[in-house]
């Protein structure tokens, strides 16, 4: 177990190195000038050039990247041009919000997706199956920005049940989590359905039924327990999506998460902030995949880590 963890962490080093290098190359070769973006449109050419020198942006590619790596291994992700604060502080200020939205969003996805998928599988080829799968398709295909605006309009503006965006209390969290969750629930429902259908036709389920076990017990003890693995994997893939991919939801709900900060960083060519958030997200992806592997081992005694 310890050896497994160490090996996974060691493997993470080249992954992080590669991701930061690719990000750096992409920013470096982007036809935009970070010094001009820092200085703003009205700064004189001389002022922009001075700023370029001060920020070290006139240095060759390998010197700039080398500096970033040298500092990053010491835990220093640099200083944001636009926010005028250490990148790590900016990330840590936003991370709790991202974490909240991630957990709440996944909770909504599971709450809706798993029962819907289970129902559709058990009542296969009935109106229940059809309705829940159509609903899943609608959920998956609704643009989150549009869905979010609708939610805000009805539940916050018209009914006044929730605040009009922002963050702070649990009430602020409900609408963004539901918006994110409704979209994702469709995927969970479809995944649960096919996974449950597969297990339902397994020999051990037939055996359990033949033993005379009640339908609900079979479902709980034998079917769900075995069908859960792909769902856990999906949660693992969901975490990185929530960290970087819910930008539209964060934007429409004025949710101060990492995704929106990353997009702002890209739009303003804030090189240290882009590199920092991408690297941080990569770390989260690596960590969450390790956690998911551990969860698999706990849930399924056939899986041994080592």
């Amino acid at each position: 177990m310890v050896a497994y963890l160490l090996r996974r962490m060691l493997f993470a080093v080249p992954v992080l190195f590669g991701i930061s290098l690719i990000t750096f190359v992409l920013i470096y070769f982007l036809p935009a000038d970070p010094a001009r973006m820092y200085a703003g449109p009205n700064a004189s050419v001389e002022a922009v050039n001075r700023i370029r020198t001060q920020l070290g942006l006139d240095q060759p590619f390998y010197v700039q990247y080398g500096r970033f790596v040298e500092r990053a291994v010491q835990g220093d992700l640099g200083y944001s041009y636009q926010l005028q604060m250490p990148v790590i502080d900016a990330i840590l200020a936003r991370f709790p919000f991202t974490l909240q939205l991630t957990l709440a969003g996944i909770f909504v996805e599971l709450l809706i997706g798993v029962p819907a998928g289970l129902l559709a599988a058990v009542r296969r080829s009935t109106w229940l199956d059809g309705t829940s799968m159509v609903a899943a398709m609608i959920g998956v295909s609704s643009p989150p920005f549009w869905l979010g605006l609708l939610m805000l309009y009805f539940f916050a503006f018209r009914l006044g049940l929730f605040p009009l965006g922002g963050a702070g209390t649990w009430k602020h969290l409900v609408l963004p989590a539901v918006t994110a969750g409704l979209g994702g629930a469709g995927w969970y429902a479809r995944m649960t359905r096919s996974s449950v259908l597969e297990v339902l036709s397994a020999d051990y389920v037939r055996t359990a039924r033949a033993k005379g076990l009640a339908g609900s017990t079979v479902l709980r003890r034998h079917v769900l327990r075995n069908a859960i693995n792909p769902i856990v994997t999906m949660v693992g893939m969901d975490i990185p999506w929530f960290v970087g991919g819910v930008v539209l939801i964060e934007t429409v709900f004025a949710w101060p998460g990492l995704g929106r900060m990353m997009v702002d960083a890209i739009l303003t060519d804030d090189v240290p902030l882009i590199l920092g958030t991408v690297t941080f997200t990569a770390v989260l992806v690596v960590v969450s995949s390790i956690i998911i592997d551990l969860a698999h081992a706990l849930l399924d005694p056939r899986i041994r880590l080592g």
């Binding site: 982007l30 036809p31 935009a32 000038d33 001009r36 973006m37 820092y38 200085a39 703003g40 449109p41 009205n42 700064a43 004189s44 050419v45 001389e46 002022a47 922009v48 050039n49 001075r50 700023i51 020198t53 001060q54 920020l55 200083y79 926010l83 005028q84 604060m85 900016a90 200020a93 936003r94 605006l149 805000l152 309009y153 916050a156 503006f157 006044g160 009009l164 965006g165 922002g166 963050a167 934007t251 429409v252 709900f253 004025a254 101060p256 929106r260 900060m261 739009l267 303003t268 060519d269």
Partner: protein, 476 residues
């Protein structure tokens, strides 16, 4: 809000003393500016402002360590360049005569120096606080202004509180200002309609604007004022087809500007010249090019393109700009010119514009020149002079005319009189004859607010600081 400059603007665009006791004494040749400070003004920490603070603040902007985007405005102070290059410890052109008097000596005459001293870059900061807080000063600002900084919640909001000791009697009128950030305009408008906020800082989204403009319920909740800006199309005079002045003139006649303005909801007025109407030097009598596609087609034929040609324009990928680009793309197709519209990130468009021989046409919408200060020079030196036609510069037509350079030099040394404005009118007429831009429209501010917030039009939308929070009041 938090800071003040030596000078500022009244409700129009005229300079008035702010931290200075009176307008500066200016030498006849406009090279020496002497300011006397208003007595008894204190920073928010209670310490009295002295001339040393002024010297420190301007030197700080020039210091490369500060990385100030505004340093270019003050390099005209004598020996500023030596200081920037590290050859001097101080700027010799800045002299503290006594604790309440400071003198700036310039390398050469500059009648716009007073405007430059009213820019936010020249706001006065207390040395001890800047040094104590270092890079954190920006997150915990402290000045002399009408509001004191209270709190910053990253990505969410800023809070300011009334400065009861502000030196202008009766200001500010509000006890507290909370600025929420990161809220989409659509959502901000909903918050305003629900009475959760009092004023919307972003432009009203196009679709909503059309509704609000005609809704009587919004009559006293919408304040509109002209923006001192020109939105234009630049034509790269160094590139094929556009190196021919007749082609550039034809483009000026081929574009239906009225239709373009309608797209963002009719917010603006048609521009026929480079300067916007509120800028001194705006030429009332100038007619410009009229919308005459037939004449444009003829001119294009005379220029050797009877069948038109194919070219490219860049345009930022932010609504509604791509639609506006498509509008003139359609106009130009009528005179036989096929335009490929490339929608890109603002940073890319800016970088491409500043690269020689890179882009034939650029739509300035969303990037448009909004003046730094109300002076015609602000539309020449930074964006149309030879000095700006350099890599990374803002002269996207890459047009450089030595005659105009000489005239601009003469103008900047001529105190603001009819003579000076006449020189600028000559300069801008030449630029229009050369048709380096297609000026399309002058922008407009439309500020949506609650009925409780009261203030004059220029308090909601002043051409310089945009929103003058200290003049706004709120009814219970």
């Amino acid at each position: 809000m938090v800071f003040d400059g030596l000078l500022f603007y009244d409700e129009t665009t005229d300079l008035v003393p702010r931290l200075a006791a009176a307008m500066p004494e200016v030498s006849l040749d406009a090279t020496v500016y002497t300011f006397r400070l208003r007595p008894g003004v204190t920073f928010h920490n209670g310490r009295e402002v002295t001339a040393d603070d002024v010297a420190y603040s301007i030197t700080r902007v020039l210091d490369p360590e500060t990385k100030s985007p505004g340093s270019g405005f003050y390099t005209g102070i004598a020996a500023a360049q030596d200081f920037i290059d590290g050859q001097a410890d101080a700027v010799s052109g800045i002299t503290v005569l006594d604790p309440t008097t400071i003198q700036f000596t310039l390398e050469s005459a500059d009648v716009t120096f007073g405007n430059k001293m009213a820019l936010n870059f020249a706001f006065i900061v207390p040395k001890e606080e800047v040094e104590r807080q270092g890079e954190n000063f920006g997150h915990n600002p402290l000045g002399t202004g009408p509001f004191r900084f209270k709190e910053w919640v990253p990505g969410r909001q800023l809070t300011f509180e009334r400065n009861p000791d502000h030196f202008v009697e009766g200001l500010p009128r509000l006890d507290r200002v909370v600025i929420q950030v990161g809220v989409e305009p659509e959502v901000a408008l909903l918050r305003l309609e629900r009475g959760e906020i009092d004023l919307m800082g972003d432009p009203i989204p196009g679709a909503e604007f059309a509704r609000i403009k005609t809704d009587l319920a919004w009559e006293n909740r919408l304040t509109s004022a002209p923006q001192v800006s020109t939105i234009y199309i630049t034509m790269n005079t160094q590139m094929p087809s556009f190196d021919n002045v007749q082609v550039r003139q034809a483009f000026n006649m081929a574009i239906d500007k009225n239709r373009i303005i309608q797209l963002p909801g009719g917010r603006g007025t048609v521009a026929n010249q480079i300067l916007p109407p509120l800028t001194p030097g705006y030429d009332q009598s100038y007619q410009g090019y009229q919308y005459t596609p037939e004449r444009a087609k003829q001119l294009l034929a005379e220029a050797g393109f009877p069948n038109g040609f194919t070219t490219t324009t860049e345009c930022i990928a932010v609504d509604p700009q791509p639609k506006l680009c498509e509008s003139f793309q359609q106009d130009l197709s009528k005179i036989g010119v096929t335009v490929e519209v490339k929608t890109l990130a603002a940073s890319t468009v800016i970088a491409d514009g500043g690269t020689a021989g890179k882009v034939p046409l650029i739509w300035s919408g969303g990037l448009g020149w909004i003046q730094d200060y109300p002076d015609p020079d602000d539309f020449y030196t930074p964006i149309l002079s030879c000095g700006a036609a350099v890599p990374g510069g803002w002269n996207w037509p890459w047009y450089c005319n030595q005659d105009l350079e000489a005239k601009a030099q003469e103008a900047i040394a001529t105190p603001l009189t009819q003579r000076r404005l006449a020189i600028y009118q000559e300069i801008f007429r030449t630029l229009m004859d050369q048709a380096v831009w297609v000026p399309v429209y002058n922008g407009q501010y439309d500020i949506a607010h609650s009925a409780k917030v009261v203030g004059g039009v220029t308090d909601f939308a002043h051409p310089e600081p945009t929103i003058r929070y200290e003049y706004l009041a709120k009814q219970p």
